[in-house]
C-alpha cells in the first residue's frame, strides 16, 4: 500500500536561508510518526509544506498523497486531501459553544439560517464516535485547555481528515490530559487515521510513535523504528554537530555578585506559572547562559527580571544585594539592569523612528534634551557597535536584522548598566553580525558588567557562557560549566537529566 502522505526530496529556501534541504518523509496509513529536532531544525517549515501554507511551486521536490503527486495551492487544498493540522496555539472561539466551534465555517444551514439542531446532533455523533465526555452546549472558554485541545482534534475529524498533524499538542496540557490525548491518538490509529506528531518531550514521543524521524539543520538525519531506538541515540542525532571555534569568548575572573534570584516563581496574567523556583547568581565580568526548549520560560524569566512582565508569586531578586521590585521597569533600568528582548519588532524597535531616536530613548534626562550631548552620545554608540545606516536619522525599520539588533543593544548600553540581559541576541542575523554581537558581549564583561545570555542554540550557549542554567518547564533542569556536553544540556532541557 502506498504511503498516505509522502514528502520526496524537498528543498525549501527563504531569502538567505535554506530551511529544508533534500528532506524526505513518509507516513503509512494508521501510523504515528514523530518528527524530532532542535529549534530551527526545520520542523515548522516541513509542517507548513505538508499543510499547504507554503504552496506548491515555492519548493523543490514533491508531495504525494496516496502515491499521487499533490500540489497544494493553499491550506484548503490540503484540507480537501484529508490533511488537518492542529497547532500549538488553539484556534477556537472562546465565546462559542463546543458544537459551534466544531462546525465553525461549515455550519449546517436550513432556509438561510443556522440549523442548531442538526449542528448539535452532528456534534453528539462525533463525540460518541470517539467516546468523549464533553457537553456540546458548554461555552468553549469554560473548558480546560486539555478539553479544548480535544475539541480542536474533533474539528479536524469532522472534516473527515485521514492525516492529523499535531505540533507540540501537549505544551499546555497537564499530566492526565496528556494521557487522555495519547489514548485518543491510539484510538484514531486503530481507525486508520495517520498522525504526524511533533513534540519536544521524548517520553511522549517514545510512548506513542511507530517511527521517529530526526531533522537537524534542515536535513533528515534518519528515520528509526521507535522500538529499536533509544532516547540517548535520538538526542545525539538531534545535536549532531561539533562546536567549531566560532565563539571568541574571553573569560575572566568573575568579581562581585551582581544579580541573584532566590526561589523565583512567576505567574502569567492568566495565572499559569511559567517560572518555578528559579535560583541563580551572576557576577561582574561573567556570562551566565540560560538554555531550554521553546516554552521553557526563558524569555518570561528575563522579561520578569526587567520588570515588564508577570506576577512574582514567590521568591526574590537581588541586584547588588538589594531587593529588586517587580513591575517597575524604569526603576530597574535606573538601578542598572537592562534587557535586550528577543522579539525585536515587538519589544524593541520604534521602526518608523530614526537610529538616533532609538539609541537614546532609554537615557534621556532632565527637562530639556541637550541635543548636542545626545548627538555625540549617539554617534559614539553607533560607531562603537558598528551600526551600518546612512545617518542617525535613517528609520530603523529599513535596516538589516543585525543592525536593528545592534541599535536595540545600543539603547540598552546607553543606560550604563551593570547587568545586561540578552534574549536570543543573534536570532535572525547573519554570521558576521553574530560575531560582532559576541565581541560586544566580551567587551561588556571586560568592562566588569554581568551578562545573562539566553539562547536556543546550544553551541552558542556553550561557546559564549561561563556557566549555563538549563530550564525545563519553568524550573532549573540543571546547571553546567563551560565544558559540558551538548547531550547533557539537551537532556536537562527535556527533563531527562
Amino acid at each position: 500500500m502506498a504511503p498516505v502522505l509522502r514528502a520526496k526530496r524537498i528543498t525549501k529556501r527563504f531569502p538567505g536561508v535554506v530551511a529544508l534541504s533534500d528532506v524526505s518523509f513518509d507516513l503509512e496509513p494508521g501510523e504515528i510518526h514523530s518528527i524530532c529536532g532542535e529549534n530551527g531544525a526545520g520542523k515548522s517549515t516541513l509542517i507548513k509544506l505538508l499543510s499547504g501554507i507554503h504552496p506548491h511551486g515555492g519548493y523543490e521536490g514533491a508531495l504525494e498523497v496516496d502515491g499521487r503527486e499533490a500540489r497544494f495551492a493553499s491550506t484548503a487544498d490540503a484540507e480537501a486531501a484529508g490533511i488537518a493540522v492542529i497547532y500549538q496555539e488553539l484556534a477556537l472561539v472562546p465565546e462559542m459553544t463546543s458544537a459551534e466551534n466544531i462546525f465553525l465555517g461549515a455550519e449546517p444551514v436550513r432556509g438561510g439560517l443556522i440549523d442548531h439542531d442538526a449542528m448539535l446532533k452532528g456534534a453528539r455523533e462525533l463525540l460518541d464516535r470517539f467516546g468523549l465526555k464533553l457537553d456540546p452546549n458548554v461555552r468553549t472558554g469554560d473548558l480546560g485547555v486539555g478539553q479544548q485541545q480535544l475539541l480542536e482534534i474533533l474539528k479536524a475529524l469532522r472534516k473527515e481528515s485521514r492525516v492529523l498533524i499535531l505540533d507540540e499538542p501537549t505544551a499546555a496540557l497537564a499530566e492526565h490530559e496528556v494521557g487522555l490525548l495519547l489514548d485518543i491518538l491510539r484510538d484514531l490509529k486503530r481507525r486508520g487515521i495517520a498522525c504526524v506528531y511533533i513534540s519536544h518531550k521524548l517520553d511522549e514521543v517514545f510512548a506513542i510513535s511507530d517511527r521517529i524521524t530526526v531533522l537537524r539543520d534542515g536535513s533528515t538525519v534518519g528515520t528509526w523504528d521507535a522500538k529499536a531506538a533509544s532516547k540517548a541515540e535520538v538526542i545525539r542525532h538531534m545535536v549532531g554537530r561539533e562546536i567549531k571555534d566560532f565563539f571568541p569568548r574571553r573569560a575572566k575572573t568573575p568579581g562581585e555578585p551582581r544579580l541573584r534570584t532566590e526561589g523565583l516563581t512567576v505567574a502569567a496574567p492568566d495565572g499559569r506559572v511559567l517560572v518555578r523556583d528559579v535560583g541563580f547568581e551572576v557576577r561582574a565580568g561573567e556570562v551566565l547562559g540560560i538554555g531550554g526548549l521553546l516554552g521553557a520560560g526563558r524569555s518570561e524569566l528575563l522579561l520578569h527580571l526587567a520588570g515588564v512582565w508577570g506576577e512574582r508569586t514567590k521568591g526574590r531578586v537581588l541586584l547588588d544585594g538589594k531587593p529588586l521590585e517587580a513591575g517597575r521597569p524604569w526603576e530597574t533600568i535606573g538601578r542598572g539592569l537592562v534587557l535586550v528582548t528577543e522579539d525585536r519588532r515587538r519589544w524593541g524597535l520604534f521602526a518608523e523612528q530614526g537610529v538616533g531616536f532609538n539609541l537614546s530613548l532609554s537615557s534621556l534626562k532632565g527637562l530639556l534634551i541637550d541635543e548636542d550631548a545626545e548627538l555625540s552620545a549617539n554617534r559614539e554608540m553607533s560607531a562603537a557597535l558598528k551600526v551600518k545606516a546612512a545617518s542617525l536619522e535613517t528609520p530603523v525599520g529599513g535596516l538589516s536584522g543585525g543592525n536593528q539588533q545592534k541599535v536595540v543593544i545600543g539603547r540598552a548600553l546607553g543606560t550604563d548598566p551593570k547587568v545586561v540581559l540578552l534574549d536570543e541576541p543573534t536570532r535572525g542575523i547573519d554570521v558576521g553580525a553574530k560575531l560582532e554581537v559576541y565581541e560586544i558581549v566580551n567587551r561588556l564583561t571586560d568592562a566588569g558588567k554581568a551578562v545573562v545570555l539566553v539562547s536556543s542554540e546550544l553551541p552558542e550557549l556553550l561557546g559564549m557562557s561561563d556557566r549555563i542554567v538549563m530550564l525545563h518547564e519553568g524550573a532549573v533542569g540543571g546547571t553546567f560549566d563551560r565544558g559540558a556536553a551538548q547531550e547533557a544540556l539537551l537532556a536537562a532541557a527535556m527533563g531527562a537529566a
Partner: protein, 373 residues
C-alpha cells in the same frame, strides 16, 4: 524628507484652493474684519487640535474635548455671572477642574485598561449633560451686562498696533536665530543640512507672512489676543514634543507601546500626564470659545473634537500614534478654520455644513490609513 515636503505642498495647495474659492465667492472673505475673525476662530480650533495632537501621538483619542469646551467655559460663566466670583478666580477654578477631570480619564484609560474611545465617548455625553445642568440650559454671559472682565477680554482684547509689530519682529528674529543655529549644528554633526540660502528663504517668507498678518490685523483692531495665545500654545507644544524627554516618550508610546515599556518609559504616567495637558488645553479653548460667543449656550463646543481630530490628521498626525508635528497640526487647523469660516460667510445651511465637516473628517482619515497601509 521629500515625502514630508510633498505633504506640506499638498496641504498648501488644498489651503490655497479652499481660500481661493471662498475669496472668489465672497469678496468679504479677504476683508480685514473677516480675517480678524478668522484669526480668532483659527486660534480656538488650533489650540484644541494641538492638545488633541498630544493625545493622538500616544495612540489614544479624546472624543470628549468638544463637550468639555462647553462645560469648562460654562462653569466659569456661572461662577462669574451667577456666583459673582471675580473672573480670574472663576477661570482658575474651572481650569483646575478641567485638569483634574482629564487626569481621571487618563487614569481610567491606562490603569483600568479601558479603550480611550469609550472612556471619552462616555465623557462626551456626561460633560454635555453636566454642562446643561450647570447653565440650566440657559444663556449665561461671560460678564455681567455691558461690563468687561478678564474672561470677556480673552477674545475682545487686541494688541496695540506697535506692540503687534514689535512682537512680530521679536518672533521673527528669535525664529531666524533658532533656525540658523539648528542648521549649523546639523552641519557640524555631519547631517544633511539645507543650504543657507534655502534656510534664509524660509525664514524670510515666514517673517514676511508674520508681518503681513500683523499689518492686516492692524487695519482692523490689531492682533487679537487669541492669536497670541495660539502662538504661545504652539511654541509650548512644539518644544514639548521636540525637545523634552516627555515628548520623545509620547512618540515612543504611540510607535510601539511594548518597546516603550521595555525601554524604561513610565508609560502609564506619561499617558495620564498627556491627558492632564489636554484638560488644560480644553479649559483654555473653552474660555476662548465661550468668550468669543459672549455667553455660554447649550451648543458651545459642539463637534469641536471632530474638527480637532480632522486638523491633526490633515496635518499628518497618524491615528495609530507615533507620528506627526505641531506645525502640521497648525496647517490642518488652518484648513478647518478657513472651511468653517467660509461656509458661514456663504450662509451655507447647517445641513450642508455638517455634511462638509463629515466629508473632510472621513477624507482625512482615509488619507491617513492609505498612507500607513
Amino acid at each position: 524628507m521629500t515625502r514630508a515636503l510633498g505633504r506640506e505642498a499638498v496641504i498648501g495647495l488644498a489651503l490655497a484652493a479652499v481660500a481661493g474659492f471662498f475669496a472668489f465667492q465672497s469678496p468679504e472673505f479677504l476683508g480685514a474684519r473677516n480675517l480678524s475673525m478668522l484669526a480668532i476662530e483659527l486660534s480656538v480650533t488650533a489650540v484644541l487640535a494641538l492638545g488633541m495632537f498630544l493625545i493622538i501621538l500616544t495612540g489614544q483619542i479624546d472624543l470628549s474635548a468638544g463637550s468639555g469646551v462647553g462645560l469648562i467655559g460654562g462653569i466659569a460663566s456661572v461662577l462669574v455671572f451667577h456666583q459673582h466670583w471675580p473672573a480670574p478666580a472663576a477661570l482658575a477654578a474651572a481650569f483646575a477642574a478641567a485638569v483634574l477631570i482629564w487626569l481621571v480619564m487618563g487614569a481610567l484609560v491606562v490603569r483600568e485598561r479601558m479603550p480611550s474611545f469609550i472612556v471619552t465617548l462616555g465623557g462626551l455625553l456626561i460633560f454635555k449633560g453636566v454642562f446643561w445642568l450647570v447653565i440650566r440650559s440657559a444663556t449665561v454671559p461671560v460678564a455681567p451686562g455691558g461690563t468687561q472682565n478678564v474672561y470677556s477680554r480673552l477674545t475682545t482684547y487686541y494688541l496695540p498696533p506697535w506692540l503687534g509689530l514689535a512682537a512680530a519682529a521679536a518672533g521673527a528674529i528669535a525664529w531666524a536665530w533658532a533656525r540658523f543655529s539648528a542648521e549649523s549644528r546639523r552641519r557640524e554633526h555631519g547631517f544633511e543640512a539645507e543650504s543657507r540660502e534655502l534656510t534664509f528663504l524660509k525664514v524670510f517668507l515666514v517673517s514676511q507672512a508674520a508681518f503681513l498678518f500683523v499689518l492686516i490685523m492692524n487695519r482692523f483692531r490689531g492682533v487679537p489676543l487669541p492669536a497670541v495665545t495660539l502662538a504661545a500654545v504652539t511654541f509650548g507644544v512644539s518644544m514639548l514634543t521636540k525637545r523634552t524627554p516627555f515628548g520623545r516618550y509620547l512618540y515612543a508610546i504611540g510607535g510601539n507601546t511594548e518597546a516603550a515599556v521595555v525601554s524604561g518609559i513610565p508609560v502609564e504616567r506619561v499617558v495620564i500626564a498627556a491627558y492632564g495637558l489636554m484638560g488644560a488645553i480644553v479649559a483654555i479653548t473653552g474660555f476662548m470659545q465661550t468668550a468669543y460667543g459672549g455667553a455660554s449656550t447649550t451648543t458651545v463646543g459642539e463637534l469641536m473634537e471632530l474638527d480637532a481630530v480632522a486638523a491633526c490628521v490633515i496635518g499628518g498626525t497618524s491615528l495609530r500614534g507615533g507620528r506627526g508635528t505641531a506645525a502640521g497640526v497648525l496647517m490642518g487647523a488652518l484648513i478647518m478654520a478657513v472651511l468653517l469660516n467660509g461656509m458661514t460667510l456663504l450662509a451655507v445651511s447647517p445641513e450642508f455644513k455638517l455634511i462638509a465637516r463629515g466629508v473632510v473628517l472621513t477624507l482625512s482619515v482615509w488619507l491617513d490609513s492609505s498612507r500607513s497601509a
